[in-house]
């Protein structure tokens, strides 16, 4: 584990039951990501990219190995502690924007502030600032998801992931629902926010054409992680 890394996976192994046998999703995976670094993990569907993200997000416990996040080993953590860690330290950019249909763009961010116990009134200016930084003007901030384009929804998704001030940003196939041009803009935005917010960002994608902006590109196949 590198001393400068915020996210560290050490010899992580993850298996799933598959009938009478177990399927290996992650096989001895090691990964260190430093603050302000964008690491892209590319690989075909079913290679284990999303399992990697789920383990890093503390949504799945590995069968073996360690996941250290912001200096804390997550192995012995209770469900409640892992939930708190996600709330305080991890931002997730979902594949589909997964925005709540009843909330406006701004309220998507305020909801995160509310569940963090912050005052909604105080969080409003930071939400506006974040949404503006991802390119959403005041009028669009008041729109609900169905009133936004796919690219705009993905920008709200990114702003929401950043709203808790995370140390680690985990990005799951952010361009899968977008055309190439919009996808490129979203990845550029992710690179920009990674540097500006000093997050340790892991981006998983199947689209290698979008990875020019990443600091490192790794590839994944059959649960094993290797250099790009």
């Amino acid at each position: 584990m590198s001393t400068s890394s915020v996210l560290s996976l050490e010899a992580v192994k993850l298996t799933y039951p598959d009938g009478d046998r177990r399927l290996t999703a992650l096989d001895d995976v090691c990964l260190d990501v430093a603050p302000g670094e964008l690491v892209a993990v590319a690989g075909p569907s079913g290679s284990g990219k999303s399992s990697l993200l789920a383990v890093a997000a503390t949504l799945l416990r590995p069968d073996a190995g360690r996941v250290v996040l912001a200096g804390r080993d997550t192995a012995g953590m209770s469900g409640r502690e892992r939930t708190a860690l996600r709330r305080e330290r991890i931002g997730i950019v979902f594949q589909q924007a997964n925005l709540l249909p009843s909330l406006t763009a701004e309220e998507q961010l305020l909801a995160v502030a509310h569940l963090r116990g912050e005052s909604v009134r105080a969080a409003r200016s930071r939400a506006a600032e974040l949404l503006e930084s991802v390119g959403l003007d005041a009028a669009k901030r008041r729109r609900r998801p169905h009133q936004l384009s796919g690219g705009e929804r993905q920008r709200v998704n990114i702003a929401r992931a950043l709203s808790g001030g995370p140390s680690v940003l985990l990005v799951d196939e952010p361009t899968s629902a977008l055309d190439h041009e919009r996808g490129e803009r979203v990845v550029e935005l992710l690179a920009e926010v990674t540097r500006r917010h000093r997050t340790a960002t892991v981006l998983v994608t199947h689209d290698r054409a979008l990875l020019g902006v990443a600091d490192r590109v790794l590839s994944m196949a059959d649960g094993r992680l290797g250099e790009g």
Binding site: S50, A54, T83, R86, R87, S102, A111, V112
Partner: protein, 354 residues
């Protein structure tokens, strides 16, 4: 309540429909409560208003006494035994029978009470009846056009109205009050029906075996049809509460199932199950309180209007109790529904295939 209130605003049609259902059931429950209390008042107010700690029912020697105004009679020996019993401060005999009061050619069904002046309801005008006199309730006097000094016929007995009393009724018939002797003539009865007793203790021996003393509340069960009527209405109230809890529970079950993807996302970004359950219960409470308040207002307003035609009792209790029960049972129903939130796996927010 951050997401919950915005969900209500966003899906206002669905929540308005649910709130309306709650309001309608609450209206019905408030109305039924008011009607139950009103009917109870019309069935029991004369006996409930007697200044007595206990009512003593009697039976002829050798027969088993039962708590029933239509089946009870108290003889002189039983009366004397109760009056002489240690701890008993007073034992007043009274008679009650259903009969007819005719005034100015207009006949009304009444419950005729024969008793001493001590057992009379409060007098609004006139004086307590002596032999040959009768006291009539205010409403009956108004409806029959009877005043103090008028001649009326109670059963076959001609009497003079000596007083107008506060309204009392027995077995849904307005009460009139006369002396025990006049009552015996009017109702063709030889013995009083029961005793109104104050104090503690009671007689020993044969008098004790042939009489049964019960508290004033328990004595109401001795009014013909009252227990069945009251029980039926309370059963209806119970059914409405159960229906309400089921309807609210069903709505929030469907709503929670529909919200599972949103719940998974919120859990993935760090919301605890407790936070989400509190949020959902707050949502249910908001819908229930709004619906119940609306229903209570409608029920109380409708009841107040209907009170002119039906026996509806409007009071803080007849509104607050059913509304409180509706909200609590609705919350219990929704609590069963929203506990599903705890089983939502946040991993599903990352995609279903993993």
């Amino acid at each position: 309540m951050f997401v919950a209130l915005r969900d209500i605003r966003f899906a206002r049609g669905r929540f308005a429909l649910m709130g309306s259902v709650v309001a309608l059931i609450t209206t019905l429950v408030v109305f039924l409560y008011g009607l139950t209390d009103g009917l109870a008042r019309e069935a029991t107010s004369a006996v409930a208003g007697l200044p007595a700690d206990r009512i003593v029912f009697g039976a002829p020697k050798g027969a088993e006494p039962e708590v029933s105004f239509s089946g009870s009679s108290v003889d002189d020996g039983q009366l004397a035994a109760w009056r002489a019993a240690p701890g008993v401060t007073s034992a007043e005999p009274f008679g009650v029978a259903m009969t007819r009061l005719t005034a100015a050619g207009k006949a009304s069904s009444v419950s005729a009470f024969g008793a001493s002046g001590r057992l009379l309801p409060p007098l609004l005008s006139g004086s307590a009846p002596g032999d040959g006199g009768v006291a009539v309730g205010e409403r009956l006097a108004r409806e029959s056009g009877v005043r103090v000094g008028d001649r009326v016929t109670l059963g076959a007995e001609e009497l003079t109205v000596s007083a107008i009393t506060a309204d009392r009724s027995h077995g849904h018939a307005p009460s009139v009050w006369t002396t025990l002797a006049a009552w015996q003539r009017a109702a063709h009865q030889q013995q009083p029906t029961a005793l109104a007793v104050t104090g503690t203790g009671g007689p020993d021996g044969p008098a004790a075996e042939a009489t049964e003393a019960v508290g004033a509340d328990a004595a109401l069960e001795g009014i013909d049809g009252y227990a069945a009527e009251h029980g039926t209405l309370q059963l209806l109230q119970g059914f409405l509460f159960v229906v309400s809890a089921l309807v609210v529970g069903a709505f929030f079950t469907v709503w929670t199932v529909q919200r599972r993807p949103d719940v998974a996302v919120l859990k993935a970004v760090g919301a605890s199950s407790g936070y989400l359950v509190r949020d959902a219960l707050g949502q249910a409470a908001a819908v229930l309180l709004a619906g119940a308040a609306l229903g209570a207002a409608a029920g109380a307003g409708g009841g107040a209007l209907a009170a002119a035609a039906v026996p509806f009792e409007l009071s803080a209790a007849t509104v607050a109790v059913p509304v409180g029960a509706m909200v609590l049972l609705g919350l219990a129903g929704s609590a069963l529904a929203v506990r599903r939130i705890t089983s939502v796996d946040p991993l599903t927010a990352l995609g279903a295939s993993r």
